[in-house]
Every structure is written in C-alpha cells, then in structure tokens.
Subunit: 166 residues, 2 copies
DNA sequence: ACATTTTTTACGAATTTCGAAAAAAACATT
DNA sequence: AATGTTTTTTTCGAAATTCGTAAAAAATGT
C-alpha cells in the first residue's frame, strides 16, 4: 500500500518557498496557483514548477479529508496487535487491504502493530475483530481502544522552519 | 481545533453520486470538475453544485497529504496517556496546539487519551515528552510507542456502499 | 394532475492552467 | 572577475476550467 521511499534521482532540500506553498495548500488544497503566486509574490509559473516538482518527488499528494461522522462512520478504534514473530509484515499487509483501516504501523513498545479503523457501527467493529482479524494468520492478541471523542486529526504538520514543538 | 458537529439546517444523506465524487477526489484532490463530470456522465454544473454542498455541509475538505519523511520528520510516535480525572479535555486541547501532533482522541481502554505525533529526531521526541508533556497539568502517565515502519496512512475511507470490511 | 421546490443542464464570460521560449539567476571553472 | 553552463523564473498567447445564472428537467407534495 505504501511505496518504500525509493530515492528519486536526487531530491533537493525544500526551501522556504516550498514550505510556504505547502502551508498554503494544507489550508485549502484547491486554491488556484495564481493566488498562491500572488500571496508569495512570484509568478504563477514558479508555483506550477515547484508544485510539479514536489509531486514528482513524492513530497505530498492532493487528497481530501472526509469527516467520518458525516459518512456514517460513527465508530472509530485504535487496535494494538501482538503478532507472531516473523508474521508482522504479512499481517500489516493484510490489514492494509481493508478500506476501513486508515492507518497501520509497526511499533516498538507494548504492541507490534497498531492500526486505526472506522466503522459504521459497534457491530461492524466487532465483526471486524472477530471475523476478520481472527482470519489473519499470525495475530496473537488484539487490544481494542474505542474512540470516545476526537480532538484533532490532520495532515497539517508542515511547519515553516522546524518549530514542530509549538 | 475540531468543531463540534453542529447540525446544519438539515443535511441530506449522501447519495451514490456524492460518494462517487468523493471516491474520485480521494485519488486526486485536484482533478478538474469537468473530468469528474465526464467520468460520471453528468454536467460540470452538477459536480460543482454537489461539491459546493458537500463542503458547505462539512462532509470533506480539500487538503494535501505530505510525506513526513520527505519533510524531515523521521520520527513518529503514538503516545497513550493516562490523565487525572476531570482534566482530560484540558489535556487534549493543550496537546492539539502542537503542530507536531496530528491526532488526539479520547478512548476507552488502557489509555484515556491517545495521540500521534511527528518529530525531526529522537531528541525532539524526548524533548516533547520530557519538557512539553510534563508541563501539562493532569497527565499522570505516558506510554510511548515508537513507529518503526508505516504500512498505511490515508484518509481514503470513502466506500461506494458500506463495504468497509473489505 | 398541477403547483412548488429542487436539481440539473446549458452557455457565455472570467479566470486559471498549460506549453514553451526568453530572461534572469545561480553555479562552476578557469 | 569573466565566461560558459545549468537551473529557475518570468512571460505570454492558447487551451481548458471555473463561474454565474437562466432555462429545462426532475422530484416532491397536495
């Protein structure tokens, strides 16, 4: 599901303009290049060239962020898994196939794999755990945490310059 | 950070066309309306009206999905928190203020709050835990899981019709 | 069956995107 | 420092997309 980060011919480090472009786009992914250009006081051509390059380099993608609630996905969960030694990759790849699953990662700590998924109902969640997870060879234990309330959920982690911690 | 889902005047249920529009947009958030129109064999005006309505209703937003690695955010973590009774909301809101934090939710299960965050380095992560989390009144314990590998990370959970589980 | 409301289509005008050549800037070499 | 080379930015006309809006069509209610 996720391409290994193969190195493209040689990717230059993002400069200030690139970061500014990303910051503007994370507010509104469909703002016209002409407007970004105005805001940053460069030509539309520059914005276009930069964005083309950034996409080329896989720095970002244009997507949409749906609100799960509005889609009827009222139940969200984070599930920590313990896997049998050697089957982690297989399990992760199987999990990734479900459209309900929006995140899968391998972790150090209590759980080998952690996944995040959305469901229409508690029933669907239970079905997922009991019918689907149990079918995947190599899962030893599943630790389900049910989401009660969501406070933040975004891809907006582009920061001007390395001020991640505020 | 996240607006409570206040009810808009009355929101109609999404129909098949809406879902198809969302499915197309989650592949490429910047595909022209004219092309969506062609694919779905309706007029551009319809696509435009539908999308305007969906945005209005808060069903989705146009955003970008940056690759944390390419942004130099090489360290990702999921942190489970135990909070003092009554301070959960405050803690969650404080956490949401950090740009490094991309997800915060309240959960049933082992941890009251679970958050997901990106950092440039292990050092930055440690600083976050030791300097920032410790400053937030009401956090009793933090359980850090370091991401070793990411298999899937997407907002693409729009499904044609309730086939979340495959 | 008819009136009312909602949704879709149609179409010209405004705006944006695109391709590509020229200009400017950045870089390297001597 | 001057010169050649490469990269990036600007420019600008053509093509495509978006936008506003009026008319047509479809859906809804009585």
């Amino acid at each position: 599901m996720y391409g290994g980060s193969q190195k493209i011919v040689s990717m230059k480090k993002l400069d200030h303009v690139d970061k500014q472009i990303l910051q503007i786009l994370q507010e509104d992914g469909r703002i016209p290049y002409t407007e970004i250009a105005q805001q940053l006081r460069v030509s539309e051509g520059t914005i276009r060239a930069r964005i083309t390059q950034l996409l080329q380099d896989g720095v970002f993608q244009f997507v949409i962020h749906p609100d799960p609630e509005k889609l009827g996905l009222h139940v969200q969960a984070i599930i920590g898994l313990t896997t049998k030694l050697g089957s982690q990759k297989y399990v992760a790849e199987e999990l990734s196939k479900f459209s309900a699953v929006r995140f899968v990662g391998s972790f150090s700590g209590k759980h080998d794999l952690i996944l995040q998924a959305c469901f229409h109902s508690n029933d669907e969640l239970i079905t997922f755990v009991n019918e689907r997870l149990s079918q995947i060879e190599g899962i030893v234990a599943a630790d389900v945490s049910l989401e009660l309330k969501q406070y933040k959920d975004s891809f907006s982690f582009v920061q001007d310059d390395d001020v991640t911690l505020q």
